[in-house]
């Protein structure tokens, strides 16, 4: 059976679909967080080197991974919107940005809290943390540019170009920061030792899936408001039960 994907790329159909999907991602996300953290805190053993502090990785690592992936996904959506002029893709891109930025922030915050007991400093200029900081700046740039252009079409297109430029730059930035880091013999934060216990891996994987589902749920919920805002003059919005009441 062929699914008509294009049907769902129309904002009017996607609005309803997204509404139905949000709880299907939100609740499993919450449950998986509970399971993952239970394994992380009660099943996984204490790390031989890092003691109990290592348990921060169950939020830090998923948040770092999410922030990187969400930027790339955002750039991909933005590029789709720019090239094929599909309104929904651009809306998805702007819905993804805040969630991605928050994950980047969580990653930085937890990285700092991990660094203090491990390195004795709140902030170490480690390649990954530094790249994460720059990634947060890139998110800020995207959000700020989008926010300061009044015409939504121009805002979508301009920030799409910026997102593409940023995603091309991310590997270059990461490589250059890493290069800089080794040159200065900076500290390297290593969370994933060779002796990672199976339960640790399981817990991290489960919280990562939970983060994915959380991000999807948030994005879908946010894009619904964006769709309503952009399509406010259309007939179908006026006929929605939540608008008519």
């Amino acid at each position: 059976m062929a699914i008509n994907w294009f049907k769902y790329s129309a904002p009017s159909t996607f609005y309803g679909l997204a509404g139905k999907l949000v709880p299907w991602f939100a609740w499993p996300s919450a449950i998986l967080f509970v399971i993952g953290l239970y394994i992380g805190f009660f099943v996984a053993p204490t790390d031989a080197v890092q003691g109990e502090a290592y348990r921060i990785i169950f939020i830090h690592v998923p948040a770092s991974i999410m922030s990187m992936f969400l930027y790339l996904i955002m750039a991909a959506y933005a590029a789709l919107g720019l090239i094929f002029n599909t309104r929904l893709s651009s809306m998805m891109a702007s819905a993804l940005a805040p969630t991605g930025a928050l994950f980047a922030f969580i990653s930085l915050w937890t990285g700092a809290l991990w660094g203090k007991p491990m390195w004795g400093a709140w902030w170490v200029w480690d390649a990954r943390l530094t790249s994460e900081l720059i990634l947060l700046f890139l998110y800020f740039g995207f959000i700020a540019l989008h926010a300061s252009i009044d015409d939504p079409r121009r805002a979508d297109r301009a920030s799409a170009l910026l997102a593409i430029l940023g995603s091309v730059n991310v590997p270059i930035i990461y490589f250059s920061v890493k290069w800089w880091n080794t040159l200065h013999q900076g500290s390297t934060v290593k969370f994933t030792g060779t002796s990672m216990h199976v339960a640790m891996q399981q817990a991290m994987f489960i919280t990562l899936v939970a983060c994915w589902m959380y991000a999807i749920a948030m994005t879908l919920a946010r894009v619904r408001s964006i769709i309503l805002e952009r399509e406010r003059n259309t007939q179908w919005v006026a006929e929605l039960p939540e608008v008519r009441s």
């Binding site: 800020f140 121009r154 301009a158 170009l161 910026l162 430029l165």
Partner: protein
């Protein structure tokens, strides 16, 4: 009346921007003076100990160059946007990318090149060795055009926006980090007696990469902003 060649167009745009800048000389000088002032403030901030200054010098000069080149980005397209020349540029029957490249080169000659020429003098304030100074010049020579090119994209994207000046720095500065790293890296390598070839060739690679893509991206950004 002859048809203008692509190279002729490039020359026309560059000479036009240089001519305009020469009639508004103050703008060029402000950028340069800003650069000199920022660099000179550092010893006042951290103390005049020569050993530390020598160690800081490449970073200070490069960061100051980065900030100074941000200053003039706002002017890159805005005057042409306000008086309608940009509309005519978009309607030029030649490649808009070439035209944009001309504007970028002119911008570099007016804001980047003076910094390159001024940098060795400032390096002396920091007691840099002669060899380091040469590497500093080389790294700035390779790096500042990249700053102008990335900056052009930012300037085109923020055309005509309120608060465009601050916004353009927010967009462009993170993207300039690799240039900063390789630029300062080269000078530091020279100071510690290591080979500078790898740094400079990476900078060169960035320059080529930017030269190939940014004029086109800037042209697209201008079209988006003119809607």
């Amino acid at each position: 009346m002859n048809k203008l060649s692509l190279f002729g167009l490039l020359r026309l745009v560059i000479s036009r921007d240089l001519m305009l800048a020469m009639r508004r000389r103050a703008d060029v000088l402000t950028t340069l003076i800003f650069f000199v002032m920022v660099v000179s403030l550092f010893p006042l901030g951290v103390g005049p100990e020569l050993g530390m200054l020598r160690k800081m010098a490449p970073g200070v000069v490069w960061v100051a160059a980065l900030l100074a080149s941000m200053l003039s980005l706002g002017r890159m397209f805005s005057a042409d946007y306000l008086d309608g020349t940009l509309e005519q540029m978009l309607l030029a029957p030649q490649s808009l990318s070439v035209l944009v490249l001309g504007k970028i080169l002119a911008h570099w000659m007016l804001s980047g090149l003076p910094l390159v020429l001024m940098a060795p003098v400032l390096g002396l304030q920091f007691d840099m060795s002669v060899q380091s100074l040469w590497v500093l010049i080389a790294s700035l020579l390779l790096g500042t055009p990249v700053l102008s090119m990335i900056g052009a994209v930012g300037a085109a994207l923020t055309l005509g926006l309120r608060g465009g000046g601050v916004l353009v720095s927010l967009l462009v500065l993170p993207l300039c980090i690799p240039v900063l790293i390789f630029g300062t890296g080269a000078v530091e390598a020279a100071a510690s007696g290591m080979s500078v070839a790898s740094h400079l060739s990476l900078l060169g690679a960035l320059l080529v990469l930017a030269l190939v893509f940014t004029p086109w991206v800037t042209a697209q950004a201008l079209r988006i902003s003119m809607e």
